[in-house]
């Protein structure tokens, strides 16, 4: 299968600092890829390059023709001077029918909020509405940038379950950025461990065993940060890291 989105040799700056060095990445249709890495490793910068918000100083991003991106930002600040109902927000950038809006809210687990002001939502509801908006454009790829920041652990676990449900319904690719390794890795087809450059890459099994990954997250912390594997319905077998 060919890639729907690929980046080759990306070098990019955040402000004056070069935070990405020669990064390659490709994404196939329907694939779930998670980018993990410590703070400041360039995860968000990479996403911003991929959505076209940031021009890389070197390298190239190639998208499938007409690729639709559903983007869920890390956080969205709506200025308090701007009134904005959930329903109106879902119409950005393209107006959608009421039926679709309600359906997207249900799929995202935020039913019943559509007439509320965005400012009155709780953190979890807000993220779900962002997710609903992102899926309304029927994206080929859903991109989430630390979308569970500010949610407690059960909250973010539920959020990731929701993403799994969304992906099954839309059959889209998912590209996530996270540092919540234990939740995210179990659901990913492929994990990219980033620290300015790609340290290692592969299935969760391969990455969790890779020395570069262990160095970043693993051994020194007495297992607290090492990979924790969920009970999951497909082929992964339980093993050591727990």
């Amino acid at each position: 299968m060919t890639a729907i989105l690929s980046a080759t040799g990306i070098t990019a700056k955040h402000g004056r600092n070069t935070v990405l060095h020669n990064v390659d990445l490709s994404l196939k249709a329907g694939e779930i890829v998670t980018i993990v890495g410590p703070n400041g490793s360039g995860k968000s910068t990479l996403l911003r390059v991929l959505i076209g918000a940031l021009k890389p100083t070197k390298g190239k991003v190639t998208r499938k023709d007409g690729l639709r991106i559903g983007y869920v930002p890390q956080k969205l600040h709506i200025d308090p001077t701007m009134p904005m109902t959930v329903r109106r927000f879902l119409d950005l950038p393209t107006p959608v029918s009421d039926e679709d809006a309600v359906h997207a809210l249900c799929t995202s687990g935020a039913q019943g909020v559509h007439s509320q002001q965005m400012a009155s939502l709780s953190g979890g509801q807000f993220q779900r509405v962002l997710l609903a908006r992102a899926i309304l454009g029927r994206p080929d790829v859903l991109m989430l940038d630390e979308a569970t920041q500010g949610l407690d652990q059960p909250g973010s676990a539920r959020f990731y379950q929701q993403i799994d449900a969304v992906r099954r319904e839309l059959n889209c690719a998912v590209l996530m950025v996270s540092h919540e390794l234990h939740v995210v890795m179990s659901a990913s087809d492929r994990v990219i461990c980033l620290n300015g450059h790609v340290c290692c890459e592969g299935t969760p099994d391969v990455v969790s065993a890779a020395p570069a990954y262990r160095e970043l997250f693993g051994t020194g912390t007495g297992g607290a940060l090492a990979l924790y594997r969920h009970e999951h319905d497909h082929h992964h077998h339980h093993e050591a890291a727990e």
Binding site: R48, I51, G52, A53, I69, G70, Y71, P73, L76, H77, I78, D79, T81, M82, P83, M84, T85, R88, L92, P93, T94, Q117, G137, M143
Partner: protein, 264 residues
Amino acid sequence: MLDDFMLRATLAAIGTAISAGALGCFVVWRRMAYFGDATAHAAILGVALALLFGTSIFLGVGFIAFLMSVLIFALSGKGQSVDTILGVLSHGALALGLVAVTMIPNQRINLDAYLFGDVLTVTRGDLGIIWIGAVVVALVLWRHWTALLTSTLSPDLAYAAGMNPRREQLVLTLLLAAVVAVAIKVVGALLITAMLIIPAAAARNFAKTPEHMAFMASGIAALAAFGGVRLSVLLDTPVGPTIICVATAFFALGAVSSLVRRAA
């Protein structure tokens, strides 16, 4: 029918108010008040240029406001702290304009007219230009509405949707220059920002969606313009400041009523 100066003044004020009210919402949402100030203050320099070259005031003001807004636009992409630069540009341009106006030979102009507006002297030609400007601003706003709104919420969301938020920001700055040119005769350089911000702030108390707020801001601005012109004749007060006073009264009314609603 446009022979009556009162009618011309009222129509000029309403035309300006409608476009300023709607555009003002973006000024408020994007926290561009200082940006508006800088562009508006530069208008005095435009007046000086227009007098020097004997061209239309609208042309001189529009040109300088355009230059100023493009300059600020270019600078705003560079660093995080534009606040100080805006302050320098805003007051620097105002002072330069004030000095330049007095240096023009064989001109004894009434500076107050440009600082605070002089809507009672608008001609039919002025009125035509004001309304053409207002309609153009409204049309561009309408066409770019979704892109402007998305870019205002989050540039990254706009990029992901294939929009170009930098371009939208440029559109907004050009509209601002147009409104400054249109408004200079009505409320004057010093109160243009008030015309942008106060109706929008008043509308915020009632609105539920951005569109709702923009329509209400235009409506409130138009009411303030109408009421301000009438009231100024009645009380023999300057028109521009009276319009702003009425708009401020609407804001106060809105703030109080929303307090009452919240308490209830």
